[in-house]
Subunit: 342 residues, 4 copies
Amino acid sequence: MAVRAAVAGASGYAGGEVLRLLLAHPQVEIGTLTGNSNAGQRLGALQPHLLPLADRILAPTEADALTGHDVVFLALPHGQSAAVAQQLGDEVLIIDCGADFRLEDAGDWERFYGSPHAGTWPYGLPELPGARDALEGSKRVAVPGCYPTAVSLALFPAYAAGLVEPEAVIVAASGTSGAGKAPKPHLLGSEVMGAMSPYGVGGGHRHTPEMIQNLSAAAGEPVSVSFTPTLAPMSRGILATCSAKARPGVTAESVRAAYEKALQDEPFVHLLPEGQWPSTAAVYGSNAALIQVAHDAAAGRVIAISAIDNLTKGTAGGAVQSMNVALGLPEELGLPTTGIAP
Amino acid sequence: MAVRAAVAGASGYAGGEVLRLLLAHPQVEIGTLTGNSNAGQRLGALQPHLLPLADRILAPTEADALTGHDVVFLALPHGQSAAVAQQLGDEVLIIDCGADFRLEDAGDWERFYGSPHAGTWPYGLPELPGARDALEGSKRVAVPGCYPTAVSLALFPAYAAGLVEPEAVIVAASGTSGAGKAPKPHLLGSEVMGAMSPYGVGGGHRHTPEMIQNLSAAAGEPVSVSFTPTLAPMSRGILATCSAKARPGVTAESVRAAYEKALQDEPFVHLLPEGQWPSTAAVYGSNAALIQVAHDAAAGRVIAISAIDNLTKGTAGGAVQSMNVALGLPEELGLPTTGIAP
Amino acid sequence: MAVRAAVAGASGYAGGEVLRLLLAHPQVEIGTLTGNSNAGQRLGALQPHLLPLADRILAPTEADALTGHDVVFLALPHGQSAAVAQQLGDEVLIIDCGADFRLEDAGDWERFYGSPHAGTWPYGLPELPGARDALEGSKRVAVPGCYPTAVSLALFPAYAAGLVEPEAVIVAASGTSGAGKAPKPHLLGSEVMGAMSPYGVGGGHRHTPEMIQNLSAAAGEPVSVSFTPTLAPMSRGILATCSAKARPGVTAESVRAAYEKALQDEPFVHLLPEGQWPSTAAVYGSNAALIQVAHDAAAGRVIAISAIDNLTKGTAGGAVQSMNVALGLPEELGLPTTGIAP
Amino acid sequence: MAVRAAVAGASGYAGGEVLRLLLAHPQVEIGTLTGNSNAGQRLGALQPHLLPLADRILAPTEADALTGHDVVFLALPHGQSAAVAQQLGDEVLIIDCGADFRLEDAGDWERFYGSPHAGTWPYGLPELPGARDALEGSKRVAVPGCYPTAVSLALFPAYAAGLVEPEAVIVAASGTSGAGKAPKPHLLGSEVMGAMSPYGVGGGHRHTPEMIQNLSAAAGEPVSVSFTPTLAPMSRGILATCSAKARPGVTAESVRAAYEKALQDEPFVHLLPEGQWPSTAAVYGSNAALIQVAHDAAAGRVIAISAIDNLTKGTAGGAVQSMNVALGLPEELGLPTTGIAP
């Protein structure tokens, strides 16, 4: 029994990655694909890597085109999902890859996005405490941001186990696909190659409140986050270096034990053997998150590092994984844990 | 009924890619993995992207370890396959990703490789005229070189249809994985990034006689090849720009028609719609070859361009595709035609 | 006695590179800088690498702002130079980095650029036969295109010496800066990294008639050109692989001798020792062109390969070199022949 | 009156960059160049970008070859400088690009380098308080490590002004040239492109004690450092993201004022205008360090970010700058503050 899926925003990077994964999903049949300015074009001209769908024509992103599916993936610019969702009704599973329904606090939303808050949907990071239960059977899913995925997976075990102080310091490097496909001068290849560049420094990045929300929930107390994102000269991947001051009595062994316990049953989050550190190269195109953690006794800090593919585990893979959970399918169905390297 | 497969040389790039594809193949069970200097190590330390096989330990590359499989993939340095093959017996399917059994002419082998010729096996490029028949039921397969794959797919339709003169001019750009994993100064990231560099110019590259062999067979007459390979700053991918003088009477229409006819039934070789040119980005990790062809009336030449992933269609994907044909499985089984982009 | 120079189009890649070179020129004083949509902005916000000019404010590109200089460099979109030049008068040296005045044949211009032909100025590639004389004392210079620079330097010795047939086959790889700074989707870093992509295949590239013009002049007969440009995943650099059928009696020795003779006195064009091939990495930021040539006896062709930095020798360095010649300064003054590597 | 300079280790990345800069230095004449395994080879075969020195032959790295110069730059593997220095005598200026003489504490040296401590020389980062005085007239200079250069320039103003707590958290991304030219598998282009990878996590990197030394000196009290280096897919550049908890009463204004005061007279360290963040792209090949600083009130931290070229300001540029100071030449002589972009 096939699940019929539509993708709104099929010409962008998130939409394209959803399609790449759905093509390999044994229970999904790909239905309508929509675009905005690209409606009417062949998908092959826009996403030439999706060869099996090359002759599909994009429909306009309208409710009419999207009805009649079991699942609708929304890969739209921020702020556009609520209107579409409302028109599709309560019975269809809607998975929003945008930011609209991630935050619980309306004030945070308004401060960072500058528009009225549309609401809060179950959060599509099944690995977080309680998240899997909330997703099962849900008809709505808010897919996490790519940075919050990487950071939350790296740090929630430390906060859940009370290992560290509630002040996290995070520096993350992201591939350029995280910035989307709309052409802007600073995203040109000529500008990006050979360049490491920070942006949104000092608390300004929109993913900061989402990290605070997740880490505070894990810690059971408010956690402050100093987050510095940087743009790296690669298409895909996030490497998040996360640290916080170790609480008294914490040791290398207690840190390792807490991470092993928190992650041992997770199909997609993999704690590496001691001494091996994650690299984005190992998760290229994979839904796996690789994690390593260390206790720096001299500096008195716990350092957790995660590597994900921002478009796979960080967006489209997280979306399909959440779809599996919401529909009651095996969580791993159709999702790769093998990356492409070198 | 599972096909049990061993991979000799599992720590290298070709071996790793064979494993990546076999992990997704529905009828293959992965058996022994071997390495040379890496024997005894966890695969996870050498190929961290192959997460499902992370705890496998490499055996030494010896016949003992490789017996008891239905298929053995050899991803060994040139010149080492014959000895291993001999020990494994006639009943096991052996697929050699190395060069040892590709050439028909012993003199060519000796001139380019400097050692005695080991023999000639059925050639694992099913798309070439007659190749599929020779592979069916064979217990031996010589996987083509990556450049000859790209070039032969781009030009065989022109030669088979008699469109062009028997003097081909080829300039190809390859990602660095084509040069393998053995560390050499000129392959360091610091040297490679930002650099386009030719090598083996003027007929010296070992893949030249293999191209001549394939194109001459298609043409039914000896074809000369001027081949210039260049190293491009990317890990994967070959873009081959191939041209030859058009014969009298050739037109854009006759060229297009010949290519459509030659490629229309191929599952992995895709002639793009007119006006769209192949890019290596669209076949990253895919077994597809993208082809486009044009007639430059002013210069009097036919120009055919192909893009492949050198490790997938150019090596490991070609190997698995040939395995499918040799075993009588559906040729496309387990092989992606979807690339990873961006 | 300082030469006072203005740069129109200082916010683009060509303009920025002219400024980088002028900053190191011992006889030039940098005057007015202009921009179009960026007029009124600090140069430091647009070209942060030009630190000594960070506080300069861009004036609008108008004749008023550009008068009162000894030299005006025009780095404007094609078609805009003629109008500006006319207003500046005959006494100022105008060096046009655009295409407007490169072609001698008005029909070629109209066919490839679709607008009326503005005229022909002395051609700023001093290494071509006769070019240096035409530049000396001239008040107008048309800076060559980047591809024609690379290709003409590689092939003019072969044509001038009558070594090859008048049918050149050229495949060139260029860094993305050659496509300029205007943001377009296919030039995004996400699209470009990991990708080799051809464009303008089959004679369509605007630089083709310029190559034909230069090579035909060197040969003394019409030369046809099959030119395939490809976009490479790097910011800068052109590697041009150029070949043509060897004429009867041509040998490796006669080829080498012809190139040595043609290039021996050139300060910027360097024939490498036998066996060493040019790489774009060696000319990053340098005004040098590296050349190597081989005779492929089996294929019957002469293959010449050049590497340049498309923005330096291919644009701004060629412009400053021509300025030196036009003003009677030492031709090498202020121009680097050292690249930045790795 | 020319300064005659020798370079020991001319075939490596540091030695090559010293030569690139010396070629542009108006008062330096380049004398003997030495190599180890490359002795006897043409420099042009090893460093093809140094075209003006292409025909130089490398001498073996022995005292005989190095005597008779005013300055000797040592670009040797760690641990080899002391023996060479001893043989050269006290009157020649020796500038050691290696680590041997950087640390003041012999215990630190032995813990991190595992060999006896050779001593401590004046530290070649003139921007640090007191450093310039120690360098003037000195016959010995220890060039700082690349990471310590980036980190110390970013944070010393905050520590000198007492703005932050003595616990620094640093995450830095470096281009691959920082790892040198000796070929190792993890530095292959195939491995590096598309990859962000941490290493030496948790206090293990040898540059950590050097950062502690510099920051503690600036603070006047012991500063702990949590340092995570990461390898980025680019040849050159370091982006260092450095933060520490703000002390009570610190404001955005007081932070800005302290940095302006500390850096205002520095020729190579440039505090960017507010709102503009440093990128490695802007200092490619330049001796400039770009700095920006912010106060994140919500997280209670001061964040300072620096961008340098690891081979220029981070090694060879720092070396030449220190030579200028030691010899009483103008500090900026021959050193670029212009980068190459894009």
